[in-house]
Point group: none
Chain length 265, copies 2
């Protein structure tokens, strides 16, 4: 695995991205960027059409040039995958072949298991024009296909790498680890969750302001009206910081009235 | 939702993809392709820099020109989202704002639930150069961030749309289809979700009341203070009925002041 010393660039174990006979240097550079976006760094090239190194690849990689510079080149696919234990072929659609077909997320978690077990894993991407040959697909352990719209299936190579790299990173599960509030609710929210005591203090403040403002009219509807307001402010689930803002809003509106009575306007 | 008669092109319900002040026609075209790849078709543009229609957008869309041709243009973001009930903002990183932060898959399944319940949903993408303003993020119900490598986070707009469209399509998987609205998200909402137009009207009402009350002090903090308030009221996600209650509360506090100035107490 190609390493790097750059601060904050994450690399670490991941599948090798293997481009089979890539045609345009720009595309190789864009593949490098897509890899870098999601923390992959090992790029292998099988017989790139325009030779190697390729200035256009470096230019298109801008910022992800460490991936391009560490890329290794092989004359044949067989040599490119020789040291690997598991190889997956990405294709636009399942081939007429008896072969396991995985969705990108399934492929990512399978690859992760293999890597965790100490195995080398590679992910094959075909030529821009016509993808992988049947022979190349045949040597793969499984096929990975994207759930594209069958009427518009044209993903370019950098997009295909981007989607797989994203799935790879998602499969780490780490993206959810920083969650604070809202755990188990399917989302994370920033800020400190308010206590119920803080909520009650806000409701008390609001109630007295509304009382003062003669909001509760007619009197027989008071209970229902307050129930409504309480319900609204409760399901807002305001953070502590937001509670302070709400207190400030109510206080400002109250003060305005007080100034008014002083004829201070 | 823009339909199409083309054989095998799948469209159907999906979130509106909203590009805020997109700069290059080529990018708009590539966004259209990314949408078509995964079966999305409703594109909205807020104030595109180079005007509309844009030949470069059509050229770059090649094959997805039906998405470009059906795109609708709005002078402001407020108008672009006026008829929607839920709006999500994609950002490179969480902002310094109290706001739900969703991973792309969580956002996709949440959007699917909202759409299934008959609500309009939009997904915001910022300008190529600097993304969304804080004000634009503030009016969103939640932020969606991609689990990118912090050392190399540069996704272009078409890539960001591609990843979200892919997640959208994946989320069709079915296991979540029986969930009702709000379930599993830590809140249940009764009543009719308000439209963004209704939210804007409430914010306008509150802003004028606060202005009158000299809440915004000192003046140099005004922007930050209002951003805060906007964020709070947006993530309350009030139902239509609750909006009415909030208008009533603000109006009561305002009236109280007006009575005060009349010396009527």
């Amino acid at each position: 695995m190609a390493g790097t010393d750059r601060a904050r660039i994450e690399t670490g174990e991941g599948p090798a991205i293997i481009l089979v006979e890539p045609q345009l240097g720009d595309n190789i550079g864009m593949v490098a960027r897509a890899m870098a976006n999601f923390g992959l760094s090992e790029l292998r090239l099988v017989n790139p059409r325009d030779g190697w190194p390729n200035q256009r690849a470096n230019a298109a990689a801008s910022g992800a040039d460490y991936v391009v510079e560490a890329a290794t080149v092989y004359p044949t696919l067989a040599e490119a995958i020789a040291d690997l234990n598991f190889v997956y072929a990405t294709t636009a659609r399942p081939r007429d072949m008896i072969k396991q077909v995985l969705a990108p997320d399934e492929a990512a978690s399978t690859m992760r298991e293999h890597l965790a077990a100490g195995n080398g894993v590679g992910l094959l991407f075909g030529r821009e024009r016509w993808g992988l040959n049947n022979e190349e697909v045949a040597i793969a352990d499984a096929i990975v296909t994207f759930p594209v719209n069958p009427g518009f299936a044209s993903l370019n190579i950098a997009q295909a790498v981007l989607l797989m790299a994203h799935e790879w990173r998602r499969s780490a599960g780490g993206e959810r680890s920083e969650r604070k509030r809202g755990e188990g609710h399917g989302f994370a929210m920033e800020g400190t969750p308010a206590t119920r005591r803080q909520l009650q203090a806000l409701l008390d403040h609001l109630e007295s302001a509304l009382e003062e403002a003669k909001y509760f009219y007619p009197p027989e509807r008071r209970e229902k009206m307050w129930l409504n307001v309480t319900g609204i402010f409760t399901h807002m689930r305001l953070a502590e910081e937001e509670m302070r803002t709400m207190h400030g809003i109510i206080a400002a509106l109250e003060r305005r009235w007080q100034k008014g009575t002083e004829g201070a306007d």
